[in-house]
Amino acid sequence: MRKLFAVTSGLIFGLGLIAGGMTDPVKVKAFLDLFGGWDPSLALVMGGAIAVGVFAFALAKRRTRSWTGELMEIPSSTVIDWRLIVGGVLFGIGWGIGGFCPGPALVALASGMGSAWIFVAAMVAGMLVHDRLLTPR
């Protein structure tokens, strides 16, 4: 059952990304281009997702186990440090250059888009570089 929930969640998430236009890097960049012809669509994607998410996470907060019996692993960290901010800035720079963020890039990769393969390979490399060299121990 928990496996079914995981696959279904991923599938619906991906369909939402496609429907919302997140898998089109040029559309994403049109949202990030405040000083060109600004396309506010992605604000509605985010807004729509949060509108549903607020209710779901309010329910999730009150549970100790998930519907399928797994322990709840909802993050509880409230730490605000330079890694959180610099990490966000670096991610934003990459997002602005390519127009891809991780989820849509994976969907685009699966759809057979060549540039998404290049992006995802570099993204995975970046993750490994961070985990090997930039993780404080």
Partner: protein
């Protein structure tokens, strides 16, 4: 600032957003986890490379499987919407490296901090979202209008 009304797609954007919210909610309530793609990708990857047990990663791997199935399921009903990239391979590699390092350092991306974090009213996530949004706006401004 001028709004590009000709490319503004409020209906499908909202519909997509609702689906993403539904999926995140399902993953939170059904599996007890946060649908943050950066972590969902990085965690099994790290387990694989360090030789750790893969059993705890099954849920994440299956979420990715679902994500990868999405364009195939979509195609059963309709052609995929057009998607275009306006940078070359060098730009894509640079973009990927920035995103990969950034989402690990900040511990989340548009989904984990953006959708799930903001839905939980997490101040920590809001700070990260403001950082990546601000940097995204600034980067596109510099690339398109300043150089």
């Amino acid at each position: 600032m001028s709004i590009a009304w000709n490319t503004f797609t409020p209906g499908s954007a909202l519909a997509g957003g609702l689906l993403i919210g539904l999926a995140s909610g399902l993953y939170a309530l059904g599996n007890g986890r946060v649908a943050g793609i950066a972590g969902i990708v990085a965690s099994p990857l790290r387990a694989l490379l360090s030789g750790a047990r893969m059993a705890p990663e099954v849920t994440r791997v299956l979420f990715i499987v679902g994500l990868l199935l999405a364009p195939w399921v979509w195609r059963l009903f309709a052609p995929l919407p057009p998607a275009t990239v306006d940078v070359g391979p060098v730009g894509l590699v640079a973009a990927g490296l920035f995103v990969g390092v950034g989402v690990r350092m900040g511990n989340g991306c548009t989904s984990g901090h953006g959708v799930c974090g903001l839905s939980r009213f997490s101040l920590r996530s809001l700070v990260n979202v403001l950082a990546f949004m601000g940097a995204g706006f600034a980067t596109v401004f510099v690339l398109r209008h300043a150089i």
